[in-house]
């Protein structure tokens, strides 16, 4: 049967991999090409690169990094951060990305998601949803944009359904409350979205130990789990994570 995926995430700025807490306080974690190769060797199922500064200088640097990784690592590569127009999608795919993740632009211009999906296929369009628990709205989780700085007034679950209907082939759901905290995924959020849509969802934000990955799949209903810091600083290898999931009855690729 289909395996649940483990996706190490590389936040890239100025050509380096970094990791923050609650979207702030960045810490250097190393060279992206070297890290990508290491995760591939450990059995990562995919890799996600997020350009977290997204200035034009960095964009050129990121394309170069993706080109280098794509000629050495033969697993799916997702790239996101600062994707504003269909042309950005084309440039990233040409550099060697297999999927492109769209976040802020999806909110500002939902038609861009539909256009990109119809031009390049749903299989390469991931919509990233940054969600935060709120108590001033008639719903539980609100969508935020601009790296988590701007509230949108959108219900994350309804938004997920809308994005899937426009042609997103996959949803990357990040809990802003959990990001970098190491207290585990926001499983109720992930479960609500996973049950609402037919497309796969990737759970993101908050992994601190291997049980969190298991809970993300079993409780949160995630099809894939994304993590950064537990892998970057050598706490666990991807292989250890997969062995732990397998031991807990989850189908993985070993």
């Amino acid at each position: 049967m289909l395996a649940k995926r483990i996706i190490p995430c590389l936040d890239v700025t100025d050509g380096r991999v970094v990791k923050g807490i609650n979207f702030l306080a960045l810490r250097d974690a190393g060279d992206p090409v070297e890290i990508a190769r290491r995760y591939d060797e450990q059995g990562a199922d995919e890799l996600t690169f997020l350009d977290i500064t997204a200035s034009s200088d960095n964009r050129g640097l990121l394309l170069h990094i993706i080109e280098q990784v794509a000629s050495q690592v033969f697993i799916p590569l997702t790239v996101g951060g600062g994707v504003r127009e269909v042309e950005d999608v084309r440039r990233l795919l040409n550099a060697g990305a297999d999927k492109v993740s769209i976040n802020t632009t999806a909110v500002l211009n939902p038609q861009m998601v539909a256009d990109a999906a119809s031009r390049f296929g749903s299989q390469c369009i991931v919509v990233a949803i940054d969600a935060k628990k709120v108590d001033n709205q008639p719903f539980e989780w609100e969508v935020f944009t601009h790296g988590g700085r701007k509230a949108t007034g959108l219900d994350a679950v309804k938004w997920a359904e809308y994005m899937a209907s426009l042609g997103a082939g996959e949803l990357l759901v990040t809990s802003m409350d959990r990001d970098g905290t190491k207290i585990g995924f926001n499983n109720p959020l992930n479960r609500a979205i996973s049950d609402a849509v037919d497309v796969p969802i990737i759970a993101s934000g908050g992994v601190g130990n291997l049980q969190h990955l298991v809970d993300g799949v079993k409780i949160g209903g995630a099809d894939a789990v994304l993590a950064a810091s537990i892998f970057h600083y050598g706490e666990y290898t991807v292989k250890q994570a997969k062995e732990y999931m397998l031991h807990n009855g989850i189908e993985v690729r070993l």
Binding site: M1, L2, S71, I75, N94, A95, D98, G169, K218, D223
Partner: protein, 221 residues
């Protein structure tokens, strides 16, 4: 003119860089050309026919570039590898947009019925079928026949990377060279004479995928 060892058919749909990079990686001495020129495809020693996106668009773009005939010829007379929609297009018709395919094989391309599909936990199975699934090698129904040359060095049940919402249903079961389960069994590879075609993405399937591409590059059908 430089000899073309492997032509990757480019009809303007999706990203072919992954396919050409993986071929260059397994066959550094070969001339791999991504091309939409019918002459290149006719002259190439081997042809790779990839595909991404929706089948109606793929067929339309293939025709608008005048590539239909040369692809059909290649499928009949030289080592030929179809990938993803490049497998689906070889059949008569698809449920996706009710479009006709190239009709090289009898059968239909069908959609996974998302609503009816559950895993062993009772959770619904998602469509697209996305990720790493096991591929079982068919011995093509004949007694004592060893697996196909393109499976050489690949474990039976090895995992390959998939992303698709439609799968092929061949009328002639004997062309099935591999199958997977989601949750029902479906055909994930077909083989016939000089042709091999797969639903998964060997170019994104790490070592198992690279082995299959390497087998294709060296295949003498």
């Amino acid at each position: 003119m430089k000899k073309i060892d492997i032509a990757v058919v480019d009809y303007g749909m999706g990203n072919l860089r992954s396919v050409s990079k993986a071929l260059e990686h397994v066959a550094p001495s070969k001339n791999v050309l991504v091309t939409s020129n019918p002459k290149d495809i006719a002259n190439a020693e081997r042809v790779v026919f990839p595909g991404q996106g929706a089948m109606p668009d793929c067929i339309r773009e293939l025709d608008s570039r005048g590539l239909r005939d040369v692809v059909i010829q290649a499928a009949h007379n030289k080592p030929f590898l179809g990938i993803c929609i490049g497998l689906q297009m070889l059949f008569e018709a698809s449920e996706e947009g009710n479009v006709a395919g190239l009709g090289i094989f009898k059968g239909k391309v069908k959609r996974f019925a998302a609503a009816d599909m559950k895993d062993s936990n009772g959770d619904k199975l998602k469509v697209p079928h996305m990720g790493w699934n096991q591929v079982y090698q068919a011995n093509q129904l004949e007694v004592n026949r060893s697996p196909h040359a393109l499976w050489q060095g690949i474990e039976n049940g090895a995992r390959f990377y998939y992303v698709h919402s439609y799968y092929v249903h061949a009328d002639d079961a004997s062309i099935t060279a591999g199958f997977s389960e989601y949750p029902q069994q479906f055909t994930s590879a077909i083989a016939s004479n000089n042709l091999f075609a797969v639903q998964f993405h060997p170019e994104k399937s790490a070592n198992a995928g690279l082995q299959l591409l390497s087998n294709f590059v060296n295949w003498m059908p």
